[in-house]
Amino acid sequence: SVSSSFPFSLLDPMLKRDCFEDILEERRNSSDLKYALRCYAPVLYKGVTPCKANMLKNIVLQSDQLHYVINQVSQESGEAPDIIQEEASVILEEMAHRLQISTVRCFAFALSKAFKTLFQHVCVNEEGIQRLQQAIQEHPVVLLPSHRSYMDFLLMSYILYTYDLALPVIAAGMDFMGMKFVGEMLRMSGAFFIRRSFGGDKLYWAVFSEYVKTMLRNGFAPIEFFLEGTRSRTCKSLTPKLGLLNIVIEPFFKGEVFDVNLVPVSISYERILEESLYARELLGVPKPKESTSGLLKARRILSEDYGSIHVYFGQPVSVRSLAQGKVNRSTYNLFPRHIPRKPMEETQSFVNDTAYRIVRLQEDNMVLKPWVLMASLLLQNLEGLELSVLTEQTVWLRGLALSYAAFLDWPDQAPTAKVVSSSLALHRGLACVSGDRVSLVVGEPLGPVTPEEALFNRAVSVLSCASYRNQVLHVFLRPAMLAVAMLHLSDEVYNCFSFLWDMFSNDFILCPGDTVQDFEEACYLLVKTGAVQMPQQDIVMTDIGQPTLSFFNGLLEPFLQGYQVVCRYLCEEASEGLTEKQYIPAVRSFAVKLILAGNLRCYEVLSSDMQKNALAALLRMDAVRKVKVADQVTLIVNKMAVNSIDDILGKNRMISHINQTPISPSLSLVAVAEDLYRDGLTPSYIR
């Protein structure tokens, strides 16, 4: 009964993932030119004829939806409607894609060359492609790839072109447009550009949403965008953004389309092109502005081996089926459909839920390489490990990961030692073997370095390494939080789990409202691998469970420590009137001070990502408030609250002794949790 409540394939005994085909293999054996010039005739939604970019613009500009907003804006601003209409037309001009098959063919040619140099394999699950092809013909399709690299959307279009599927139109950030020539090239290969922020701009929103909806309703092309909003610099999935998802789902609620199919796509890179760039960015070295010359400089990367890419097209998710029984579409009956309206609460929570669900589906089908496991182990042993120990533990971890249904791409035939050594070879920029010890590589020392510079270099390599460990976190996260709750925190395990769950819900993909379900899942998984037993519904650790639990504990340790450092800073150092802008550099220098003084060994707290997430958690828990004074946003710290959070995080942190007594003998935890869950109570009620 436990497993039936889990929505994901994780616990499905029938779980079978598709096989991969390497699409580069054919490219290596036949002419790229021929490939770029071959006949390309994709089937569209219900056989519609493709719509010329200009016609599309006209449909949008003449739509009732846009007219309504134009008149509204005109009345509010006193400007004549045709001037606003002109403005709308300019916005649309700036936004719209100009998909041209000739440009796509150029890309197809150039990317073939580039991919062959950069990657060993580009693997795609062909069954997923077949499902997609079917879906495109039946319903409007929205492609939702994970976002780890600039490569993502070029890669997507490349694959769809390869399989003769309709090319998507892709929502891209305006920053790409800065790259003069390239921006236009991207536009001609199907990208449309949206401003990063246009909060209050009604007209912009109207043009934008109508543009997307028009393409979707008519099924002119699959829409593609990144739910995470931006590239994840940490390789953890980011909290999904809802704006575009709202837009593409709305036509279904309004009855304008029968259904919308969401297709999660998981793109896994064995080595990410932007690897150390991301680490630097997280440490506060500003992101280089996208520019063509920057891209050319990046040519250097062409000489390196980036391993393989796996692209997994997930099962199309029908919005209609998801919404069944959750959203009453007839609530849309009493309002004209062309008048923009804030989504109702019911709808909002549905869209939010859907977004999380899709991101979890993306996570589920992310392909993990052996190196990901090795990185997880190395990060728990920053001083290094013996190669044989690393190998042995990697094998152990592999077993654990597999039993938790991780999508592990482990070469079946090769001996373990070979697997480990080839992983080390591919990632020689991150780890080195000296003698029989494996340890993280620390920067390239160029002349004499200050302690700060040394620290920075070390942080770069820790964060780079962490970006690999992060890839496996979604597999272990729930049992790991339970392990931490059992080992470190106070006596009421569910409460502790729930506290951690809440605390970390910006750092990890934890669907709102799923605390109880996640707790059940965690219990189930730990029991399944024999790490704990649940006699009479108590949770008891077993002998064989100890390595598992302490590994899990180590896995989350950097996060616990990081959040604690943030709490300490806010309690001890933060001045009155700390502004939001000052917060990150201030926490960073606080942490640098601690590390240099030898009081802290955790480098991950230097990551701005973790600092932001910690702040978001504290804001959510009302331990910190934002106050807007003039143009500045100031953080008001409730020191009592922050202190107590710090306490909970830090309580008994040093305990390493693990005994076998039931952790919570008095309470039938799972029974309680299950009861509450069945009654449909929210987790906050439990707390």
Partner: protein
Amino acid sequence: MLFEGNRFSSPFVTVPTGFCSWLCVVHRGTTTSETRPRCDWSFPYCQYTKEEPRCGKPILNNREPRRGKPILNNREPRRGKQEIMKWNGWGYSDSKFLFNKKGQAEFTGKRYRLSGMTLPSLQDWFENTFGASVKHKSPATVILNASVVPPPRLNEAFVENLKATGIPFSNEAEDRVFRAHGHCLHEIFALREGKKFERVPDMVVWPNCHNDVVKIVELACKHNVCLIPYGGGTSVTSALECPPEETRCIVSLDTSQMNRILWLDENNLVAHVEAGIIGQDLERLLNESGYCTGHEPDSMEFSSLGGWVATRASGMKKNVYGNIEDLVIHIKAVTPRGVIEKSCQGPRTSTGPDIHHFILGSEGTLGVVTEVTMKIRPIPEYQKYGSVVFPKFEAGVACLREVAKQRCAPASIRLMDNKQFHFGHALKPQVSSIFTHFVEGLKKFYITKLKGFDPHQLVVATLLFEGDRERVLQHEKQVYDIAATFGGLAAGEDNGQRGYLLTFVIAYLRDLGMDYCVVAESFETSVPWDRVLDLCQNVKERIIRECKERGVQFQPLTSCRVTQTYDSGACIYFYFAFNYRGLADPVHTYEQVEHAAREEILANGGSLSHHHGVGKLRKEWMKDSISNVGVGMLKSVKEYVDPENIFGNRNLL
């Protein structure tokens, strides 16, 4: 001039005159045939010869009373049209479609213009559309087996009192079963299968006038008997089904004998009519005096005035004449609380909420409508059919929307989708002359080749104009001009007429389908203009998908038409049919799909019903449709008017 009531007292006098429906009737009075020359050939499909005497004939005497079974009756019950109608299908016993030995479809009988004709393309269409075969028959039970009818539960005291009134009644199985159902698929299917009935009326009474009804209702209240009013029996909402949980004696109150026009007022153009009159009789009788009501629901051959009032019926020509609520001036109804009526016939009043609207659509839950005063109009001088072909459904809907916007809709304007167009074409009778054949081919060539219309996309709007000749021609031009701006091509009168033919033989065709493992039903809704296309599209897709999920082996037929236009929206009518071979319980599957289709309609901004009503079939959605307070209001009216639930058919709420 005021007519004497007795002038119209018998609707069974065969007068050689026509009424203005394309449905039936042909012998036209000299006055009208001259003024409407077109009608002579523009009514080609429906030759309604001569009304057979339906009562007054000693029917019962011809039948042998079954032994051991006491038949209770005061005097000969007059059974209305029961004697000449099918007991387990639609319409007249002598009229039905069948595939003859040559495999050609024909329509039997002599009543309709199509009667006696062969329809060469119907079989192909039928087999191709449904994947059906004329070899796979699923014939109906031929006669009613009395053993499947539960014995009547009579209330002796009520029967005694009723006898004293002299009002005819019966408890014969045939009479009870005939009034135990409407024409929902499940009802007809069960009759054909000869299934055991759970609950049927225990007896039937035939009041002859308003006062008879008053007596019956009083007795029913006195003896706590459940009354279910019965008019024409054409309900498609399970409204006539007896609630199985009803333990009291159920009496079906058949209004068929209350069929007179009591007076006609030419100064105010109104007629006072007994509510049991059947649509075609009402029109025919009015036609004799040069008038019509213009209210022509597709069921008008069989449905009654009281039934129209009780269900808020809608007629094909509502654009000129209005729907039933627009036509009614005064209603007299008998309720357990007494008689409800108004004190005057003012054309409009501001006297609080209109009490007529408690009666209109009450579906027999409050009382019996006995007499209605309704508007009449002079028979139009001229009538003309027409049709327009559009390249796509979208264009057709846009055109209808524009016509509605300009408020220039003809008496009837309907837009059939592509499937329905082909369906209509399958009903073309054998073409007699080579010339006609040649002309047909030429037309087809013109539309599909020269104009480039895709035969699998094109749709047809059918039109019916009425009025004086000049006006009609002018009106026609206006409508065709609008149509042209949406890419519509005028496609002749014949196509127009065939469209209307389809709606009236459709129920006969359903019986044919059921003979060959095909179940079919229609349902309707009304929806704002901007949602028409999406609703049609989504409902069809939902049906197809639900059929697939429920194991229907063959592609279902889903077809729709925009059948009425209004200022702010339209009425959409769906046909849905599938070949049920391989299904264990086709009716259940059908019901699940229809249920899903209705949910889809509601989710797409459609109403629960435009004119069929709620009955028991759609009760579950009433709360969502009219809000809790709305339901409460209706309940409190019921509570006041009928606290003992004498009118216990349990429709609506």
